[in-house]
């Protein structure tokens, strides 16, 4: 294929942007998985809700920036309610119970989205401040995408700092390592769980808000995100944040170039990657061997 270097660069940047967004979503999922042993399938629905709320806030209140505050707040509150009144009841019941519950929740939320917002895809306009393009190596590239990159990077830097420097961050990391011990030491474990759960949901919702002008807002976006996150966890390794980061970038690029080369079968690449990883290194690229 004789495409100018600019196209490859553009696709690569596109992949990077998509990958960072994915990591924003996947990181919350990985943290909750590592700490509570729960793969919260409804997490992908939080991402979708974030995008849909962004649509409504932007539409009715006229400001995209407001939605960056309001949407994650609403989703965060919803997630904490869900944890407190639904998920908490399943901790004693075993993993399959949690799976059923979170899957059911994912489904109901998806259905609610369809009921409230309809099934047609919605567009969220890029905020005026970030509209327009930048010229880069002969190709024009939307400013907004660099915003996404920068924003995601800042958020993730913030998370990394919180986890490594603050007291609450240390407690969280300890709980990921050994929840029982943290409990025995007297920390209010349910509170920590709820906090991380809500925090993860807020991250996912933020990703949804930011993604809304970039991708279209449609009722299948939760499922897309779920599948992508799952591939990320399998490839990156269960419970490894670093692995999830690298895997997210990989999936982002794979998606991007897959669409470039084989548009109708882009999904195949993800499958191949997952299949190869499962055969060669079942615990993921960075996962811990059992």
């Amino acid at each position: 294929m004789d495409l100018p270097i600019g196209i490859y660069l553009m696709q690569a940047t596109h992949g990077l942007v998509y990958g960072m967004l994915l990591f924003l979503v996947a990181s919350g999922l990985t943290l909750v998985l590592g700490m509570m042993g729960v793969l919260n399938i409804a997490h992908a629905a939080f991402y979708m809700l974030g995008a849909y709320f962004a649509y409504s806030v932007t539409l009715h209140l006229g400001s995209f920036w407001l939605s960056l505050l309001i949407s994650p707040a609403i989703v965060g509150a919803l997630s904490i309610l869900a944890e407190r009144f639904l998920l908490r009841k399943t901790y004693k019941g075993g993993h399959q119970l949690q799976l059923l519950l979170t899957f059911g929740l994912f489904f109901i939320l998806g259905e609610l989205v369809r009921v409230i917002w309809g099934t047609a895809p919605l567009t969220v306009p890029v905020p005026k401040l970030l509209a327009g393009d930048i010229s880069l190596l002969g190709m024009t590239y939307p400013v907004y995408r660099f915003f996404i990159l920068g924003f995601s990077f800042l958020i993730l830097l913030g998370i990394a700092l919180i986890l490594s420097q603050t007291r609450i961050g240390i407690i969280i990391r300890a709980a990921v390592s050994d929840a029982d011990m943290v409990d025995a030491l007297g920390t209010n474990l349910p509170l920590v769980f709820a906090g991380v759960f809500g925090g993860g949901a807020i991250l996912a919702a933020l990703a949804g808000v930011v993604a809304a002008p970039f991708l279209s807002v449609h009722s299948g976006m939760g499922l897309d995100a779920l599948m992508d996150c799952f591939v990320i966890i399998v490839v990156g390794g269960f419970g490894s944040l670093w692995g999830a980061f690298l895997a997210s970038l990989m999936i982002g690029e794979l998606n991007s170039f897959g669409i470039l080369w084989v548009p109708r079968l882009a999904i195949v690449f993800q499958f191949l990657l997952m299949a190869v990883v499962l055969i060669a290194r079942p615990s993921g690229l960075f996962g811990e061997k059992e």
Binding site: L39, I41, L86, K89, T90, G93, H95, Q96, L97, L99, L100, L101, F103, G104, L105, F107, I108, E111, L112, V115, L223, L226, M227, F230, V231, I233, V234, F238, R264, L265, I267, V268, F271, M274, A275, L278, I279, P282
Partner: protein
């Protein structure tokens, strides 16, 4: 023969007679519902073989149901002369092949990972069905004529009448469900349960955990595929809805609501699901949310499912009131 067994046998015979007389007792609309219940019941039983009995929860089980529907539909459409019975034989075999490939990857994983990788494979097949329009017609779907059934003594039976479709479905589903039941009574069936209970202990007793689970996966895929093939015959139209996430979710709902701890649980759950859907969807188009809510209520507060309300213990209590039954028999799952 003790009284509990007599009661169960009596109930079974009454149920069988009732099922044979459905086309004569009920109007056409209800026969359609009955066929739907039969087909989904087989699907749910195949699901429970994996979930209740093997301890594996797949979120993408529609992969086999849908594959079965598509294979049958493709044969009906492109090879209209092929014997119906042969098609219903080829379909599950083809699904066995698909299960053999998918299972190789899925069985390596456990818990949530198993659930989601099975969903991933189902979404993959869904994407194939969507995009391969030249063969599958995408989400527009395929229509086809239902072939006649040629039987050795009884002659040709047209599948145009719902009564005939009902009887064929009843026969096939009965065979499938019975096969599953008998399978669970063999040593292999015991291995499946044994591995579910304590897989490490089982492997130290000499059980090959992977292979045991793999076989259960194959059998489950075969039965689901058979159900899918029947579905194609029943509806006369197959599109991507047969192989999408809603179909996967439906069978989860049916089985869990019915109860995974008893062989008949999924059948009860399917009957409830189909009837409830038929009733509620005439009142509101958002019946899914009600069903989903009911599902969550069952998951949180009634883990034994609906069948636990009609449990053997209750029947035993009932029976012991009018006999001297001591009720000490443990129901073998």
């Amino acid at each position: 023969m003790n009284n509990l067994r007599t009661y169960q046998l009596g109930l079974g015979i009454a149920g069988a007679v009732l099922m044979l007389l459905v086309p004569y007792l009920f109007p056409v609309m209800y026969i359609h519902l009955a066929v739907e219940i039969l087909i989904y019941a087989l699907f749910a039983v195949s699901f429970n073989l994996l979930f209740g009995y093997s301890g594996l929860l797949p979120f993408g089980h529609a992969a086999f149901f849908g594959a079965g529907a598509y294979v049958a539909a493709l044969i009906f459409k492109n090879f209209p002369g092929m014997s119906l019975l042969l098609t219903l034989l080829i379909t599950p075999l083809f699904c066995a092949g698909i299960a053999a490939v998918i299972g190789f990857f899925c069985i390596r994983l456990k818990g949530a990972y198993f659930a989601l990788i099975s969903l991933a494979f189902q979404m993959f097949l869904y994407a194939v069905a969507m995009k391969w329009r030249s063969v599958t017609y995408g989400d527009d779907g395929m229509t086809f004529n239902r072939p006649d059934l040629h039987l050795p003594i009884l002659g040709t039976v047209s599948m145009g009448s719902i009564q005939n479709v009902y009887y064929l479905s009843l026969a096939i589903v009965a065979i499938g469900v019975l096969a599953c039941y008998l399978f669970l009574k063999t040593p292999l069936g015991n291995s499946v349960v044994c591995v579910r209970e304590r897989d490490i202990r089982a492997s130290f007793l000499g059980y090959n955990v992977f292979l045991t689970r793999y076989i259960a996966f194959l059998v489950s895929g075969i039965l689901a595929g058979l159900a899918g093939g029947l579905f194609a015959l029943f509806v006369g139209f197959v599109n991507t809805a047969c192989i999408d996430i809603n179909m996967s979710m439906s069978v989860v709902l049916m089985t869990v609501i019915g109860g995974t701890g008893h062989f008949l649980g999924p059948i009860l759950g399917t009957a409830f699901y189909v009837v409830f859907q038929d009733w509620i969807s005439s009142l509101t188009k958002h019946w899914w949310i009600l069903m989903g809510t009911f599902f969550i209520v069952v998951v949180l507060y009634l883990q034994g499912g609906l069948i636990s309300l009609v449990s053997i213990k209750k029947i035993r209590l009932l029976v012991s009131r009018w006999s001297k039954e001591d009720g000490n028999h443990i129901e073998n799952r």
